[in-house]
Amino acid sequence: MKILEVKRISKIFGGLQAVSQLDFHIKEGEILGLVGPNGAGKTTVFNLITGIYAPNEGEILFRSENITSWKPHKIAIKGIARTFQLTTLYNNCSTLENVIIGHHSRLKARLWSILWRTPSYWKEEKDAEQSALEVLDFIGLLEQKNTLAQNLPHGYQRRLEIAIAISSGPKLLLLDEPVSGMNPEETAEVMTLISKIREKGTTVLMIEHDMKAVMGLCDRIVVINYGEKLAEGSPQEIKENKEVIEAYLGREDDFA
């Protein structure tokens, strides 16, 4: 079943066409790669899907529901989570706190229960902390739970971002360059992580420049350039696609 359908969306920024008539879909349970040269509009696509921008044209359907122009927090509650190209964390909070905050949409305590500290409040707080610890364990950051987010090394920070994203229990996870700035070892670890996330039932849409990661993980790939869809298919098909190879010529040779 198609968990996400992006139907002919376009976005213009003051005269610059960032995305043009883009059309693709994601099947439930797959890992879809979104690749393209720098400036192709990939992050803009993420921003359109998560409601940070509203498209000028087109529709976005999430599990058959039209979420075009919805506010970001509503879309997040519906079940789409994301990470960002530039590391975005709650810097002055500990790793554990970051993940607990990520649980926000799953917590239901009303103002009343909070003020009177009813048993249901205590239970929910305990459960949230427990769940956060489990997420940290899954991600491999359990030891760093009390470290301030800004003090974590880069690789761990990127993982924490993923931890925050999955703690809301999303159906669809959008990862924006999850392994950027990582050495091959860290990259391999994160790749395993993403596989595990998919195995647990979350669909993944991933932007990445690291071709090894893309080829190794993705079931399908969509290539965009200048805001338009260039090609779509399995990793093998994309590798052999002439237009794709051309689009990457003249850029860094990361298409080995």
């Binding site: 998560t50 940070i52 506010k71 970001p72 927090h73 509503k74 997040a76 509650i77 989570a81 994301r82 960002f84 975005t88 964390l89 709650y90 810097n91 002055n92 909070c93 706190e97 607990i100 905050i101 990520g102 926000h104 949409s105 917590l107 305590a109 103002l111 909070i114 003020l115 500290r117 409040y121 707080e125 949230a128 925050i164 994203a165 809301s168």
Partner: protein, 320 residues
């Protein structure tokens, strides 16, 4: 004793202590300072809660004034009992807070500050201009004390001396402390922290930013209204000059000097800056100069305020 019961024990002692203060502190002037300090603490806590959602309002005094005039008018024109006008002032000021907050909280940083500054001035000018309702530049005088509390058969508590006011304010402060403490340690408090740390990430994690900003703003207005009501019936006189922009600035000074981003910061800042000039018995102008200098020095050299300094000292000594 584990940490939780240790904390509860200290808390219990502190509460008993504060309840007993009037018993051994007989000087009415000192009780007056205590009352004013507690009112400042309430205002600083609310302000800090709003500032933790990354907005700096410059209209706190206007909310206090609105609460003061509302309570006064309810009692003097509509014959409300103080015990009804007190919560009403809180609720009505909260409503005002929502009305002002909804359009303005969307605006960023300095523009929001300017908008609240303008709002504060509009309210103050309203107090001066609408003479029929607010008494104009002369304000309203002879505001009655709170109605006596009668517990049949036991006692009648009349608001003649300062002591009943002390307990009234103390209760209000306890309420305020409890509310903000519990909120900070809940998902609401965490949501506000998230909004402050990264509103982009907060949104994408399912946090409705405007909802929490408006909530914080309205809650702060509620308590400001309560403070205003107590103020009116304690000083028995209010005028527009009591609720100016510069008073709003003072409240900001309390929060910043004490240390924003911490729970104890606003409390410490209020106590320190209210006690200090009073016990130095210096003239108002010098007091204000001290506030201004404290603000400048803290922002330049101690951005985390007194609490920040304390934490640094504590962590340094535990490291060495």
């Amino acid at each position: 004793m584990d940490t939780v019961s240790k904390k509860s024990f200290y808390l219990f002692c502190l509460i008993i202590f504060s309840l007993c203060i009037p018993l051994f502190m007989k000087d009415p002037y000192r009780i007056h300072i205590a009352i004013v300090t507690m009112l400042h603490i309430i205002l600083a806590l609310g302000l800090s809660f709003v500032m933790n959602t990354a907005q700096v309002p410059l209209c706190q005094a206007a909310f206090v004034g609105f609460g003061a005039y509302t309570s006064t008018l309810l009692v003097m024109r509509l014959n409300f009992s103080f015990w009804l006008s007190l919560p009403s002032a809180g609720v009505l000021t909260a409503i005002l807070g929502i009305l002002v907050g909804l359009p303005t909280l969307r605006i960023k940083g300095i523009y929001f500050a300017m908008a609240t500054f303008a709002f504060g001035e509009i309210i103050r000018l309203l107090f001066i201009g609408w003479v029929g309702l607010f008494g104009g530049a002369n304000g309203i005088s002879s505001i009655p004390s709170p109605n006596p509390i009668e517990i049949p058969g036991l006692l009648t508590l009349e608001f003649q001396s300062k002591i009943p006011y002390y307990y009234l304010t103390l209760m209000a402060m306890f309420l305020c402390l409890m509310v903000f403490y519990r909120l900070n340690h809940s998902r609401i408090g965490r949501a506000c922290t998230a909004v402050r740390e990264s509103d982009l990430l907060a949104q994408c994690t399912g946090i409705d930013i405007m909802r929490y900003k408006v909530f914080a703003f309205a809650l702060n207005s509620f308590f400001a209204g309560i403070v205003g009501s107590i103020y009116a019936h304690y000083f028995h006189f209010i005028g527009p000059q009591d609720f100016t922009f510069w008073q709003s600035v003072e409240y900001i000074v309390f929060v910043i000097v004490g240390g924003r981003g911490t729970f104890a910061g606003p409390i410490v800042g209020s106590i320190f800056l209210t006690f200090l000039p009073e016990f130095l018995r210096i003239a108002v102008e010098f007091q204000v100069v001290i506030y201004g200098l404290a603000l400048i020095l803290v922002i330049l050299f101690m951005p985390k305020g007194i609490m920040g300094l304390l934490f640094k000292i504590i962590s340094k000594s535990s490291n060495s």
